[in-house]
């Protein structure tokens, strides 16, 4: 037996709407027209460059004239290029500094800034954030003066405090890397602090009160309340820091030019150098493709590890 379900009686207006719909063409272009700017720009500025880069990476091109097809030659050369290996190693160090030093430090500073009763909180927040908005050229100029071996501020302070100076901050390969890391720390910690601070301010007070009632100390509260509550923010910060540090360019380019002896050469600097100093556009494109694959693959891995996009 079937049961017929009768709908509400249809009005004359409804019938008129139906007639209108019937008169309209079935597939309208209007919605596509409205969303087309995004796709056009996406194709123009994302897909086309990616495809062209891929094609260029299989050629040898000096920047003018016709590129010559060389197949996978550029990738084979990259595999044995000591400079590229150095650049990968240096970039890995910068990524580690960004993820393992800058992010935790930013979290600690945010926690300190979130403390109840802290005076002039906004001033602190601004002070930490200011380095981000300072032009990288200025940063390089200032730190160039600070790290100067003969007349720099850092060595003057060392001389005044310990009677010893002459540290070659930017001329010694290991110290140059450390100097770049210091600049990264100075420049990006405050920026990430703002994200953590926003996250901390959204943690419900009741959770802290409950922890206090349970007799949890500061460390316990931090590990059982703060950290889990900040997981989405942390995941975002870690992934963006990772991607940003993997593409680091300004700090080493302006401060050390990738030297001394390529000790601060990053992969993006390697790409820039190949393309715009050595006119090896195919080779640069191949290095860019490798960087893209590495960053994409590793950021997917980090996403998976941090559970981004998964329901909690």
């Amino acid at each position: 037996m079937t049961t017929a379900i009768a709908g509400p009686p249809r009005s004359t207006g409804d019938r008129a709407d139906e007639a209108d719909t019937a008169r309209r063409p079935k597939s309208s272009w209007a919605p596509y027209l409205f969303i087309s700017p995004f796709y056009l720009l996406y194709i123009l500025f994302m897909l086309v460059p990616i495809v062209v880069s891929l094609w260029l990476s299989l050629t040898e091109w000096v920047g003018l004239g016709t590129p010559h097809w060389v197949g996978l030659r550029n990738y084979r050369l990259l595999a044995t290029d000591i400079s590229f290996h150095r650049a990968l190693g240096n970039t890995a160090v910068f990524v580690l500094v960004a993820v393992c030093v800058v992010v935790p430090l930013a979290l600690l500073i945010a926690q300190a800034l979130n403390t109840r009763g802290l005076r002039v909180r906004d001033l602190w927040r601004t002070a930490y954030f200011v380095p981000v908005v300072v032009s990288p050229i200025l940063v390089a100029l200032i730190f160039g003066l600070v790290f100067d071996r003969q007349f720099g501020l850092a060595n003057s302070v060392l001389r005044a405090l310990f009677g010893t100076g002459g540290v070659d901050w930017l001329g010694d390969p290991s110290l140059a890397k450390a100097s770049i890391a210091l600049v990264m720390l100075w420049r990006w910690t405050g920026y990430l602090t703002v994200f953590f601070l926003a996250g901390l301010q959204n943690v419900p007070r009741e959770l802290y009160e409950a922890a206090a009632l349970d007799g949890a100390g500061r460390l316990r509260t931090f590990s059982t309340v703060t950290l889990p509550a900040l997981k989405p923010v942390t995941a975002f910060v870690v992934v963006t820091s990772f991607i940003g540090a993997a593409q680091i360019f300004e700090e080493p380019y302006l401060l050390t030019g990738g030297g001394p002896a390529e000790s601060t050469l990053s992969v993006t600097m390697f790409i820039y150098r190949a393309a715009f100093q050595r006119q090896q556009f195919g080779y640069a494109a191949a290095a860019a493709v490798v960087l893209f694959v590495l960053v994409f693959g590793l950021s997917r891995l980090v996403n998976r590890l941090l559970g981004i996009g998964r329901a909690s």
Binding site: L64, L145, L170
Partner: protein
């Protein structure tokens, strides 16, 4: 009879869009290629140096008198390396290239890669040959850096000889002899001066961010000693006994204090060193007076002097040449002929070369101009009224040749790192040069 339907609004819109697109594409295409042979003309000049801009602006009346053109200049200034990058970008775009371009010598090797120079730059060789006596008069040492396969693609702005700048007052106070002595004797004096007064008489740059500067300190003395980076066939010839001599000399000088390492020849570090009398002399190309001394220590006007470099006891010349800017003409443009004529009638004339020295301090690139009495008579206020030109004329026959290679930037990158390691004592001079040659071979030609 069939009557065509009136176009509806949509068809009209479509037509208008099509016409607009066609017009836009036409506008985007390159400009008219009809060669201009006379009349009013505006040349697009790209340069990194306002001195050149002023020189060419002042040269317009002379060019107007000597050609069928009435010149105007539209000048664009950019950083030296950016000029090449932007030029290539515009060339790929097929429009927006300048007519006349100044290539700083260190950036020009990028034009030597592949067939870029041939494709983009007008070959000036035949034009030079067409002017009676010009080819023999132009200094080969200044055409070689801007040549490829014997063809000249740019004309140099200078014969930038390396001389010794020194503080006359402090040399007197420290009882230092002003006659030219050997570098070895000079280094002994320098060690004593450093010990007694904390001053240095030679400088090497350790600017990490500028490989060119680091290399330059070594390059000047290397070429003076008779060594070179590349030979005429663009082969690397750096790993030589001369290079080892010079690098050892600098490393020893750093240990004794005769040489000081300064992070930047032009910036705050050098300014401090000069103002504190920590640097009382240095070997440098003649243009350093205008770019390093005058801007950094204007108050020391009248205290500086110039003399010939000390010689190396084991051989070499009395000078070297470092720097320069070659002006090239972009080929196959409506203004190409006008630009060639402009360049030849400002840059290469006798009066133009005299004016270049008196107005910008750049030395002539034609031998015959060195005999001009106006140049010998010129006095330099910053150098206490010293007449500098007789010294330069005396040094001219000893300017060593200089050749560039498309792989030069690779050499600079690897050499700068190894020089710093040698200066720090991490590598011996021999090891540093061998390592440089090995690194260069590994990277060149990829």
């Amino acid at each position: 009879m069939y009557t065509p339907p009136h176009p509806n609004r949509r068809a009209l819109l479509r037509g208008a869009l099509g016409l607009g697109t066609a017009a836009a594409l036409t506008a985007c295409a390159g400009g008219s290629a009809t060669v201009r042979t006379s009349g009013e003309i505006t040349l697009a000049l790209w340069t990194h140096d306002p001195g050149y801009e002023a020189f060419f602006e002042k040269g317009i009346p002379q060019a107007d008198r000597r050609t069928d053109f009435r010149y105007h200049l539209k000048v664009t200034r950019a950083g030296a390396p950016d000029i090449v990058t932007k030029l290539l970008a515009q060339a790929v775009a097929g429009r927006g290239t300048p007519d006349l371009v100044g290539f700083e010598i260190g950036s020009f090797p990028r034009m030597l890669r592949g067939d870029i120079a041939e494709r983009l730059l007008y070959d000036l060789t035949d034009d030079i040959a067409a002017v009676p006596g010009l080819k023999a008069d132009l200094l080969p040492a200044r055409t070689a850096p801007f040549s490829k396969d014997g063809r000249v693609y740019a004309l140099d702005s200078d014969t930038p000889m390396v001389v010794y700048f020194y503080r006359d007052d402090l040399f007197d106070r420290y009882n230092l002899p002003k006659q030219t002595v050997t570098w070895e004797e000079f280094a002994d004096l320098g060690a004593r001066v450093h010990q007694e007064h904390g001053a240095s008489m030679c400088v090497v740059s350790t600017a990490g961010s500028d490989a060119g500067q680091v290399v330059q300190s070594f390059q000047m003395l290397l070429y003076q000693r008779g060594g070179a980076f590349f030979d005429a066939d663009q082969n690397l010839v750096l790993d030589s006994p001369e290079a080892e001599d010079v690098l050892r000399f600098l490393c020893d000088g750093l240990r004794s204090g005769f040489v000081i390492d300064v992070s930047d020849y032009y910036g705050a570090a050098m300014q401090t060193a000069l103002k504190q009398d920590r640097v009382i002399g240095l070997p440098m190309a003649i243009w350093y007076k205008n770019y390093g001394l005058v801007p950094n220590v204007p108050e020391q006007k009248g205290k500086w002097r110039v003399k010939a470099l000390p010689r190396f006891a084991r051989g070499g010349a009395a000078t070297a040449a470092v720097g320069g800017t070659g002006f090239g003409v972009i080929k196959d443009k409506a203004n190409t002929q006008a630009t060639r004529e402009f360049l030849f009638n400002t840059w290469l004339t006798h009066d133009g070369q005299v004016r270049r020295f008196t107005e910008t301090g750049y030395l002539p690139t034609r031998r015959s101009v060195y005999d001009d009495p106006r140049l010998s008579a010129a006095r330099d206020d910053f150098c206490g009224g010293q007449r500098l030109f007789p010294l330069y004329r005396e040094l001219l026959p000893q300017v060593p040749p200089f050749h560039q290679s498309p792989d030069q930037s690779i050499l600079y990158d690897v050499l700068a790192g190894n020089l710093l390691r040698a200066y720090h004592g991490d590598l011996s001079p021999r090891q540093a040069l061998k390592q440089t040659a090995a690194d260069f071979r590994d990277q060149a030609g990829r």
